[in-house]
């Protein structure tokens, strides 16, 4: 029998969903366990970590010194490191509050200062190089499953390179931007979620971050302005999950 790859899951600050979602591959989790041996994963296991990992998964933003140490440690110990979820790849919602950390802490906790060594929330990818970034708030479980299977086979994971609109068209959903004038960020957002929000008849909120390459946020801005949306509203929408500049 071939030797299994060692997999570790490292959780920085976030909602917990990205780590949790690994468990909820349901029966396919057991398929993955044919190829991987689960190492540290503190949400799911009391097993203590240590040692080297073939594949490491890091979720969340760096929001404290503890997070930063954990992230560097994960990088140093993993051959192949995956930044999983929009917190790790783009910062997501918690990185969108633009006040300096001291002011934020004061507003929330009063005048005690910064006793717990909090940092401004930033995505993991700003601190360390990663081998693969899978965005999404939450990410699509299928994409993670395929990526881990590909890595186990020694193949390069597939990286989507098209906007959400492509998945809308494939599903034959009505265009909520053109037909219903809803503020939809689908045209400039990286696909891979199977157009989850448009499936509910609502506009894409941009949780997978900007489409790399020839994305045109200025054009999207103009379209939304033309539909009567306020400029500040649009800019805040752009900046919610990733720091898009219109």
């Amino acid at each position: 029998m071939m030797e299994k790859l060692k997999l570790g899951v490292f959780e920085l600050t976030g909602c917990g969903g990205c780590a949790l979602n690994v468990l909820f591959l349901y029966e396919r989790l057991f398929d993955l366990l044919e190829f991987y041996e689960m190492g540290e994963f503190h949400m799911a296991s009391s097993a203590q970590g240590g040692g080297h990992y073939d594949v490491g998964i890091v979720t969340g933003t760096v929001s404290t010194h503890r997070d930063l140490e954990l992230l560097k440690n994960a990088r140093n110990r993993s051959d192949y490191l995956i930044a999983l979820g929009t917190c790790a790849t783009h910062g997501s919602v918690q990185a969108s509050v633009e006040l300096p950390i001291r002011e934020k802490l004061k507003a929330v906790y009063g005048d005690e200062g910064n006793p717990m060594k909090a940092l401004d929330s930033k995505p993991a990818v700003e601190y360390v190089a990663v081998d693969l970034a899978i965005p999404g708030c939450p990410y699509d479980k299928e994409e993670l499953y395929q990526a881990l299977m590909n890595i186990a086979r020694g193949a390069d994971p597939v990286r989507p390179d098209y906007p959400v609109c492509v998945e809308c068209k494939l599903n034959e959903y009505e265009c909520v931007l053109v037909k219903r004038n809803l503020p939809c960020l689908g045209p400039i957002t990286l696909g891979g979620c199977n157009a989850a929000c448009v499936r509910s008849g609502l506009g894409c909120i941009g949780c997978r971050g900007p489409l790399p390459g020839e994305v045109n946020p200025a054009g999207e801005y103009e379209i939304l302005r033309g539909l009567g949306y306020n400029g500040d509203y649009i800019v805040r929408k752009f900046k919610t999950f990733a720091r898009w500049e219109p």
Partner: protein, 415 residues
């Protein structure tokens, strides 16, 4: 001397405890929430109301729908919007789905390894594969309901002020009715399994819940008379924790499945009520460890109630119409029962419907003082009697009984 324990495992988010020992005597235990702050109330300030529930959903993955619904209710109350029975029933169905997936996760994957003596469910699966699969089946069904009502398993955006983006179809509701009946026997088995857990942790003196089973207009406590949170609950910052701590009339108290059962037994469905009566004496002692058993009984409640709601909606037919929302200046509070207890979203809005004040109080912050009291009791019994490894294991079990949601608890604001 301060003994710092390592981070708790098999809980959602990052937390640890330190024990203060003076002259060989345990003086205090501090529960430190070390998960970084996430500033959710600051994030929502100045935002247009329409986008706020989607943002608040991101507070937590396990209970995103409770945050969406509490947020939507707070906003609707601020604008004076009343929604019809159909929308209320669908929201309740969503919350039930969340109760199922969250309780199943907690009981089968996080607590069961303690009951059976394993470090995690994956290692437990070699000998107890059936049990793990039963837990995953309940969890998957809960998530399926969340997908139907919320739009996605995690962080959906389908719950909106005034209604939904998309309504479930007849076929989907029939599936809910069928599945809730089929899974009921698994839930009943869970009650037997978790009835075996003994008493540990502190005994709660006060219990708080919403006045309806899964949401309410106000809160109730063991007195029964409804009140607003501002009248009896106070929060304070702690220098050693990113989560604040709530007190009820200045004392520690409990929110969660156990308080729901004790305060609202009359509202239970038939089989859940029967099981509650069977276990009543034990539950009424108020030991926090019985929260696990209470959650198992709620699995039964959730499946029975999900079936009832699906049947009611199928009999009446789905109308699928949203209520118009007129934004304006106002103030509103949404009270919802997240799986692990009372969740409060409180907003004030301006004339354009932007958020100008936001306060969110989560169950883990409300339970924080009770968790510390429970840890202190356990440490006093164990310190010097057993090794550190053994002690940490027991303390983890005690914290786990609260089903803490640490990610949720780290962003509370006072403006």
């Amino acid at each position: 001397m301060i003994i710092e324990l390592h981070e708790f495992t098999r809980v959602e988010g990052n937390g640890r405890a330190e024990i203060v020992v003076e002259d060989g005597e345990v003086k205090d235990v501090r529960l430190k929430i070390v998960e970084g702050p996430r500033f959710f109330e600051l994030l929502t300030l100045g935002r247009h109301y329409y986008d706020v529930p989607d943002l608040e959903a991101r507070i937590c993955a396990i209970c995103y729908l409770a945050h969406s619904v509490a947020s939507v209710m707070g906003i609707e109350r601020a604008f004076g919007v009343e929604v019809p029975e159909e929308i209320k029933l669908l929201r309740e169905l969503g919350l039930i789905g969340e109760l199922l997936e969250s309780h199943a996760l907690h009981l089968y994957l996080l607590v069961a390894p303690d009951v059976l003596g394993y470090s995690d469910a994956i290692r437990m699966a070699t000998k107890h594969g059936e049990l793990v699969k039963e837990g995953l089946a309940l969890k998957a069904f809960g998530n399926r309901i969340r997908e139907l009502i919320g739009g996605r398993e995690i962080h959906g955006i389908n719950v909106k002020p005034g209604g939904f983006g998309r309504y479930p179809t007849v076929e989907e509701l029939e599936e809910v009715e069928r599945q809730s009946e089929a899974l009921l026997k698994l839930a009943k088995r869970a009650v037997r399994l978790f009835a075996g857990l003994g008493p540990y942790g502190e005994r709660a003196k006060h219990f708080v819940a919403t006045d309806g089973y899964l949401w309410g207009e106000r809160l109730i406590s063991e007195g029964g008379e409804p009140f607003h949170y501002t009248e009896r609950i106070e929060e304070r910052s702690l220098v050693y924790s990113f989560a604040k701590q709530g007190k009820y009339n200045g004392e520690s108290f409990l929110v969660g499945a156990l308080p729901r059962l004790l305060l609202k037994a009359k509202m239970l469905t038939p089989e859940a009520k029967r099981l509650f009566e069977e276990q009543r004496e034990r539950l009424e002692t108020g030991y926090v460890s019985y929260n696990n058993l209470a959650q198992a009984i709620e699995l039964v409640y959730s499946l029975e109630r999900a079936g009832e709601i699906a049947k009611t909606l199928l009999d009446r037919g789905i109308n699928g119409e949203n209520v118009p929302v007129e934004p304006g200046e106002g103030e509103g509070i949404g009270y919802v029962e997240a799986p692990r207890g009372v969740l409060i979203h409180h907003y004030r809005t301006d004339s354009e419907g932007k958020i100008v004040y936001s306060n969110i109080i989560t169950p883990t912050a409300l339970n924080h003082a009770m968790m510390e009291a429970s840890l202190l009791k356990e440490v006093r019994a164990l310190y010097g009697e057993v090794g550190e490894g053994e002690m940490v294991k027991k303390l983890e079990e005690t914290v786990r009984a609260f089903d803490p949601c640490i990610s949720c608890s780290v962003h509370l604001v006072k403006l």
